[in-house]
């Protein structure tokens, strides 16, 4: 806190900081050599502009005030490292003649809080002069309009500053001169420090935001070899072995996002005069952001170089992690406990790490690096050099005012990073596209294979159906036409059979053949059609035998269990039953009934009833009845026979009958 009332008249010059002895000597030497030249140039440019560097200072630290004659710039941290305080600078100057036009005052840096007085008039005030660690107004250059009436022949500027510990407080030389001239210098400084920083912030935010969005929304790339596309150059490869569509995020994108966003915080700090929380905590945040930027960029370079699996990288990663952990400690030591050397040493370690990484990275980039790798190498080289320069300028030398150049060289890093991210995205998209086209080809091949298999199955099914039909026809021929013809031959060979018997046998044969042909077109399960065909084929013979036929057939639902083979078997059974009546029953009436059968099964009950002589169901003649029994069992039908003179009933029940359910006898 400034205490103008207490003056220590014994201190006439500012004490020289121990670490600054050598550098101060060099700087003085340089100034002595270069300053006359610059001064000549400045005088030629505009002899009216004054740069006030000599001041009498009243410095108050921890309640102690000292009077000093100082040279500006006055870098507080260099003079009073690790301390906070206030200072009152008095800068007298003389004007040969009073200006007739407006003047301006430009100060490249002052504060952290300040007041500027001219000839007892307050020109500008920013910040709280009483309380420390609040807003910081030393980040931007300052410009003040001075009306001509304020200036006299003998003048004095008084500048009061309040300075926080380790916050780059102090006072730069005051530049006074005609408005347009001084304003031009101010604007040049402002552009470099503030407008340029704004551009960098926007760019970093953009690149970081895009990288973060890509990282969040990224899904797994296809497995290497699956898509058949070689990876470009030496870029880090996506992680393999993950299924397509699962979230698998590329670490490269995350590193890029973290680096750029943390750099945004660091660079953006110059635009924030009132930080969200007080000093030195906010300072620790911005320095930590710088540390994160450098470390993540180092990791990013490792990824770009494809060294992810190199054994040394594990150690390098641990070292970078250690640097990250050490950063808050060094920052706290510098800002909280007044040991700025700790932070300087940390910066040095970081710089050396980058210096060690640089040649290896450059060598690989030059030998077999991709475009992205080389771009990053150039950016790394430039940023390392600029970073070293900044470390020297702001941590080693006593430079006050000005701005770090790293913020501008980092643009190249941002551009390289954006290129790498886009290249990786294109690569991944290409892989996905190739995978999709590969999948489409596979699907097509599968379709063809399936179609081929289906055709084979269809062919086999057709062959099976043909075999079944052949088997059925053979059986029909064997049991029907073949049997009848051989019987006829036997009848003719023995010479005992009458011509009528042979004719009957042959007619049986032909009828059976016709029924077999009809059976080919009878729909499976259509009992009506089957019965109608049998009647149609055999009715002429009933008429010839003078048998009256009664037809009592309902409209029947198709019986699901009766396939084509079962229908043929049923037809044979009906033919056998009718043939028995024609040949042996000597009947005058034949009644055919067909009705739905509700119980015990849903099916159809067929009854063939004649009024013939009947027969002994336990000792039937020939093998016709046993054949019917076998066929009934084969198709899951129930066959019941009941015979007595004057009434013989053959009953066939079709439907959902348990297999082997055929019953013979009554």
């Amino acid at each position: 806190m400034a205490e103008p009332g207490r003056v220590d008249s014994t201190s006439l010059r500012a004490p020289t900081p121990p670490a600054q002895g050598l550098w101060a000597g060099l700087r003085r030497l340089l100034r002595q050599l270069v300053a006359p030249v610059l001064l000549c140039l400045a005088v030629q440019a505009n002899a009216l502009t004054l740069e006030l560097r000599e001041a009498r200072a009243s410095v108050t630290i921890q309640g102690q005030t000292k009077q000093l004659a100082v040279q500006l710039p006055y870098h507080w941290d260099r003079v009073h490292g690790g301390l906070q305080g206030a200072a009152d600078f008095e800068l007298p100057f003389t004007l040969a003649e009073l200006p007739g036009r407006p003047y301006g005052l430009y100060v490249s840096r002052l504060g952290n809080a300040y007041e500027i007085w001219l000839n007892g008039v307050l020109l500008e005030k920013n910040g709280d002069m009483q309380n420390f660690n609040g807003a910081d107004y030393a980040k931007s250059p300052r410009f003040v309009d001075i009306t001509p009436g304020l200036l006299r022949t003998e003048n004095v500027f008084r500048v009061h500053i309040r300075v926080d510990k380790g916050r780059r407080g102090g006072l730069a030389p005051l530049v006074l001169g005609p408005l347009d001239e001084v304003q031009r210098r101010y604007e040049h400084d402002y552009r470099w420090r503030n407008t340029g920083s704004m551009v960098v912030v926007v760019l970093s935010l953009l690149v970081g935001g895009v990288a973060l969005v890509l990282w969040v929304t990224q899904v797994a790339p296809p497995e290497p070899g699956q898509a058949g596309r070689p990876e470009p150059g030496q870029m880090g490869r996506p992680k393999a072995g993950q299924a397509m569509g699962r979230p698998l995020r590329d670490r490269l994108f995350l590193l890029a996002a973290i680096a750029e966003l943390s750099w945004t915080v660091n660079v953006g700090d110059v635009l924030i005069e009132t930080p969200p929380f007080g000093w030195p905590w906010w300072g620790m945040v911005t320095i930590a952001a710088t540390a994160v930027w450098v470390c993540t960029m180092a990791l990013f370079c490792i990824e770009v170089a494809g060294w992810g699996r190199h054994p040394l990288v594990r150690w390098l990663g641990r070292w970078i992690l250690l640097l990250l952990v050490a950063n808050p400690v060094a920052t706290a030591a510098a800002l909280l406990y007044g040991y700025p050397l700790a932070l300087t040493l940390w910066y040095a370690a970081l710089g050396l790490t980058c210096l060690a990484l640089l040649p290896v990275f450059m060598r690989k980039a030059l030998r077999d690096g991709s475009i992205a790798h080389r771009m990053v190498a150039v950016a790394l080289l430039l940023n390392t050099l600029v970073g070293m320069r900044d470390i020297y300028a702001f941590r080693v030398s006593a430079t006050y005012g000005g701005t770090t150049m790293l913020r501008y060289s980092s643009i190249l890093f941002g551009l390289a990073l954006a290129y790498v991210v886009i290249a990786r995205l294109r690569f991944t998209s290409g892989q996905v596209r190739d995978l999709l086209s590969g999948m489409a080809a596979q699907v097509k091949a599968k379709e063809i294979a399936l179609q081929t298999r289906y055709q084979r199955v269809e062919t086999l099914a057709r062959e099976q159906a043909r075999d079944d039909e052949r088997t059925r026809i053979l059986r029909d021929m064997h049991d029907g036409v073949g049997s009848h013809i051989s019987t006829a031959i036997r009848q003719l060979q023995t010479g005992k059979a009458a011509a009528a018997d042979v004719l009957h046998t042959l007619r049986d044969s032909l009828d059976h053949l016709k029924l077999s042909i009809d059976a080919m077109n009878v729909p499976p399960g259509d009992i009506n059609a089957l019965l109608a065909n049998v009647r149609y084929r055999l009715e002429p013979r009933f008429l010839a035998c003078d048998i009256r036929l009664t037809w009592d057939v309902d409209l029947l639902e198709p019986v699901a269990a009766m396939d084509a083979s079962a229908m043929a078997q049923l037809q044979f059974m009906l033919f056998e039953a009718f043939s028995n009546v024609l040949q042996h029953a000597n009947a005058s009436t034949l009644c055919v009934l067909a009705h739905p059968c509700e119980t015990p099964w849903r099916g159809v009950r067929l009854q063939i009833i004649d009024d013939g002589c009947g027969f002994d169901v336990d000792q039937p003649r020939g093998n016709g009845l046993s054949s019917m029994q076998q066929r009934a069992r084969g198709i899951g039908a129930v066959l019941c026979l009941a015979s007595a003179p004057g009434r013989t009933v053959v009953e066939i029940t079709l439907g959902s009958v348990p297999s082997g359910g055929a019953v013979v006898g009554d």
Binding site: L510, N521, N528, N533, E539, V553
Partner: protein, 241 residues
């Protein structure tokens, strides 16, 4: 007494002789001629001096199908009533014959008296129809109805190539069956005889026969343009036996 002149077209000489004898044994029938090939038959039919009332024709002839003879006879002699000689009376062949213009069919194993009886019945207005044929006609009629309901998009339903007249050269229009004709067909398909149907429907047998005759007329191709159409299709038809 009306005597009907009969032309027999059968390639097997023994069978041809059997049919010729069967015709000759009947006083109401007169054998106009008996030939063995399509060429002989068409030449005979083209001869303006010949007249014929009944054509008995086998389908499987050495130089072509008997269907060609039926169409030719119908064109040249509109009053001629063709009868197809069929071994099995199977529905595919018989139906194709009916569409060509036949009014009935007769089995090769029929007795001589059955042959003359069938011819005379046909001339009297009775045409035979088997349950299988009735069922096929009904089935085709129902599929036609479905096709009409679905609109004029023949590609929307697959033609049943096994059915004559339903292939790619099918007739563009088919005359509808009356409800009574449908009922008669349904009963025939269930195995009922004309007499039983007449009793069930309380009509005369003659009425039932008329329904069947109408059915034949509807199924047959009897207009000249349709005949020309059918003739163009003839080469695509499989050889019938």
């Amino acid at each position: 007494m009306q005597v009907w002149r009969v032309l027999v077209v059968e390639d097997d000489p023994q069978m041809r002789g059997f049919f010729a004898n069967s015709v000759q044994r009947c006083a109401e029938l007169c054998l106009a001629a008996s030939v063995g090939t399509v060429a002989e038959a068409t030449a005979w039919l083209d001869d303006d001096s010949n007249t014929v009332d009944v054509l008995l024709v086998d389908l499987g002839l050495p130089d072509g199908s008997g269907l060609a003879v039926i169409r030719h006879a119908v064109l040249r002699h509109p009053h001629c009533e063709p009868l197809v000689i069929s071994m099995f009376g199977d529905d595919a062949n018989v139906l194709a014959s009916i569409e060509a213009g036949a009014l009935g069919y007769i089995h090769k194993d029929s007795r001589p008296q059955d042959i003359s009886r069938t011819i005379l019945d046909m001339r009297a207005g009775a045409s035979p129809i088997s349950p299988m044929i009735a069922r096929r006609v009904l089935s085709r009629y129902r599929s036609d109805q479905v096709g009409r309901a679905a609109g004029p998009a023949p590609a929307s339903r697959l033609p049943d190539k096994s059915l004559p007249g339903t292939g790619p050269h099918a007739m563009p229009k088919r005359r509808l069956l009356s409800p009574r004709e449908q009922e008669v067909l349904a009963l025939i398909a269930r195995g009922f005889t004309y007499a039983e149907i007449a009793r069930l429907q309380s009509v005369t047998v003659h009425t039932v026969q008329t329904h069947i005759k109408n059915l034949y007329a509807k199924l047959s191709v009897n207009s000249r343009s349709e005949a020309v159409f059918e003739a163009s299709r003839m080469g695509l038809l499989p050889r019938h036996g």
